[in-house]
Amino acid sequence: MNKKLKTFLTNLGKPIFAIIVSLFIGALLIIPTGTSPIEAYMILFKGAFGSWQGFSTSLAKATPLLFTGLAAAYSFRAGVFNIGIEGQLYFGAIASALTGVYFGNLPPAVLIPICMIAAMVIGMAWAFIPAILNVKLNISIFITCIMLNNIAQLFSNYLATYPFKGELAIGATYKISEGAMLPKLAGAMNDLNFGFIIAIILSIILYILLFKTKFGYESRAAGISRTFSRYIGIDATKKTIIIVMISGAIAGLAGAEQVMGVNYRYISDFSPGLGYTGITVALLARNNPLACILTAIFFGALTNGAIQMEVMTNISRDLISSVQAVMIVFIAADFAFDYFKKKKKADKNKTVGSKKEGKLC
């Protein structure tokens, strides 16, 4: 227990140290603008966490990132670099939007699941292509995914601009029927919706699936070593395909959440790189689904706080994103961790070294 607490504190200390360092570097960039960095950071922090409206907006921004982060974490655990989440998300979004518009008279209890299933199925199908090409023809998942991302985005935009264009003057579908809308959790003017709860539940389910079940045990084995997994009786290629498809389904769900809970329609180019940010969310969480909740909220808070900062101060948006970039790098880096480790090592050396004459270096 004590040991657990210690590792927990070390793990906590690391990001805190990183955040402090990066905030300091950010301050150096902010000072020339004439705004006090402390005030700017206060606004960022208050905006992101200071009130229920602020916090719920952070959660709202975190929701799609949690979905895409989970999609990424899940596939990374299984050793597949699914960088195709962005495309799967677009297809998921258009699928749920079209279902929500054109099957609008079904009751919510039926329609909501159907929209989600549509998104998941198409996300899955779209993920299947790079997976099967990789397994059967040994084509790099990386390149096919990047290509398929572009295809999915362009094709979904096309659908929303031409055959299924809605009433607005932009490339967007009609509004989905009310029966397909996910309930809002923090008022009509806040994007936080039931999708967040789904995402949290999904994180827990994925965690259990990965770490507490046979399927997860085998997925992780397949992800780490093909030879080992084959030896313990796992068909690694089959497993890989299934995992990429599950990851694609989650990515599709991310798109569905944006349509059913936030925009209520498919809007061309709606994603500000959610799929790519999800990859960072996952990697920062060391591909642990539960930790993804934290990192997604962290990213959500950064996005939300940045908008607050922009509205409240005269710091430009560009600067804020530069500071964010610095922050991300520092958090991903391991010096804090190193620092703690070294200290721990030195402590141990002392106890051992005291017994004999050997010098410590």
């Binding site: 080992f228 030896y231 009786g233 141990k348």
Partner: protein, 512 residues
């Protein structure tokens, strides 16, 4: 005589382990020194320090009686120290030539003078009597040749002091003989050689001087001529080794039957050709042969990991040809693979996670909650703890990463898992004691013998003929995928087997 190497009061502290505890060794120039000791004694660590790969926590190193301080291998290389690592440092995607010259490429400008390299290497091969195909990709070579490449690499760098960390662990007897000839001639040229091994015969054969390590300390040093195998073993283990358990006569029923098994490789050649064999309860069939002659496929077919292209496999009179590994495993076919690091274990996982790999499908590790099946961590941990106790696995705990264990202890995890978790009816053991110290070898041998005496059938694949003779009831030799010889263990000799293994002899009719 002058000293080539002095390592004085070396300490090396890893988090949690004091790998070298005030070690001092002195090595004379031109001598062959064996460094022996149990797994995890600190041999590799000491040599890695000498090669500049690790920095000692404290201590002094002198080369040719001159104090040095190494920050990287480059510094050691500059002092003419070369090392053949326990795990080969070769790039499979590159050619032999490229591997040898890597880091010391000939040529005046930035360009590599490939012609010069070729001439130099050919010269080197001639002088030392080592022969390798220099344009072949490393990945296409058998380990024996890879080993030679490693030695050439060291010689190419003009090393005077050669460190060989368990060079014979993966070699066949023939290859080992060749290596020893090379060592002898190198020593004649005045080179100093430090040689780590767990095989005591080799120590006696090849070295002038022996240093024994245990638990991070040097516990004994002696001239080779003053000792023998048995005394040495005592030094290493600290006590006398128990004798191999007695073989009880058995005549059980057929457990496994292979009928006309053939396996084709991608390139159209046969990995296994027309294999027929029966294995009985309480019988250990030793499979001898130079590695790469179908042993791996042979094991995999029996284990259910590979479905043969032709032929049938029967287990307890049931046709299991098309069953998968998992089903075979549940039927009681256990398999200890030759490569524990790549196949047998997941190095990134803990002891506990590894301790039931493959058996994770068995109900005894599962629990049901609300109709869903989950892995029961409590049972998994208990299993791991029991195993650690029963096999005396040296590890800080069941949650430690397997990669942090010494090789012998890693091997014990594999053996424990394959023999205890689900009592095997048939145990396939490939190289079960590779890289393992003599204490552990004796333990493993006795354990396998006990299983046999209790009725388990065994297939023992080993490149170590001593091991084959010690454990087998029946011996077969695989050559180019075929069984070229099948004899009772008592009715043959090492020399005869050697002929079969080299393919220069073929049995006309087998016993029975």
């Amino acid at each position: 005589m002058k000293l080539a190497v002095e390592m004085l009061n070396i300490c090396k502290q890893y988090p949690g382990t004091l790998a070298n505890d005030n070690v001092s060794i002195k090595i004379k120039r031109g001598s062959v020194v064996s460094l022996v000791g149990e797994n995890g004694a600190g041999k590799s660590t000491l040599m890695n320090i000498l090669y500049g790969l690790q920095k000692p926590t404290s201590g002094v190193i002198k080369i040719n009686e001159e104090e040095v301080s190494f920050n990287s291998s480059l510094d050691a290389l500059k002092k003419n120290i070369g090392m053949v690592h326990q795990h080969f440092m070769l790039v499979e995607e590159l050619s032999v030539l490229e591997n040898i010259i890597l880091g010391m490429e000939p040529g005046k400008s930035m360009y590599i003078d490939y012609d010069k390299a070729r001439i130099e290497i050919e010269e080197l091969m001639k002088v030392n009597g080592i022969e390798v195909p220099i344009d072949e990709l490393i990945g296409n070579l058998p380990v024996g040749l890879q080993q030679k490449v490693e030695i050439l690499k060291v010689l190419y760098r003009g090393a005077d002091i050669l460190i060989l960390d368990e060079p014979t662990a993966v070699l066949t007897p023939q290859e080992t003989d060749e290596l020893f000839n090379n060592i002898a001639s190198l020593s004649k040229q005045g080179k100093t050689i430090i040689f780590i091994t767990h095989k005591l015969d080799e120590v006696i054969r090849v070295s002038d001087y022996i240093i024994v390590m245990r638990r991070g300390k040097v516990v004994a040093e002696m001239n080779t001529k003053d000792t023998d195998k048995y005394k040495l073993a005592e030094h290493m283990v600290g006590k006398e080794l128990p004798p191999v358990h007695e073989r009880k006569e058995k005549d059980g029923s057929k457990v496994m039957k292979l009928e006309n098994i053939s396996v084709k490789e991608d390139n159209g050649l046969f990995a296994l050709k027309n294999i027929n064999l029966t294995i009985k309860e309480g019988e250990i069939v030793g499979v001898a042969g130079i590695s790469g002659n179908g042993q791996q496929e042979f094991a995999q077919v029996i284990a259910g990991q590979l479905i043969p292209d032709m032929g049938k496999v029967f287990f307890e009179n049931e046709d299991i040809t098309n069953l998968r590994r998992t089903e075979c495993l549940l039927k009681g076919i256990s398999y200890i693979p030759a490569d524990r690091k790549k196949e047998g274990l997941c190095m990134e996982w803990s002891v506990a996670q590894n301790s039931f790999a493959g058996y994770h499908i068995m109900p005894k590790f599962l629990k049901k909650i609300l109709g869903f099946t989950f892995i029961d961590d409590k049972k998994v941990n208990k299993n791991a703890k029991d195993m650690i106790k029963q096999f005396d696995i040296r590890t800080p705990g069941h949650n430690s990463l397997v990669s942090e264990l010494s090789g012998g202890n890693q091997q014990k995890i594999v053996i424990g898992r394959e023999t205890v978790v689900n009592k095997p009816k048939l145990l396939i053991a490939a190289e079960p004691t590779r890289g393992v110290d003599i204490g552990a070898i004796s333990f493993i041998h006795n354990y396998i013998m006990d299983l046999r005496n209790n009725g388990t059938a065994g297939v023992l694949i080993s490149s170590d003929l001593d091991e084959i003779f010690a454990l087998s009831d029946t011996i077969i030799v695989l050559f180019e995928g075929e069984i070229v010889c099948k004899v009772r263990a008592g009715e043959t000799t090492r020399e005869e087997l050697g002929l079969y293994m080299a393919g220069s002899k073929r049995q006309e009719s087998e016993y029975e």
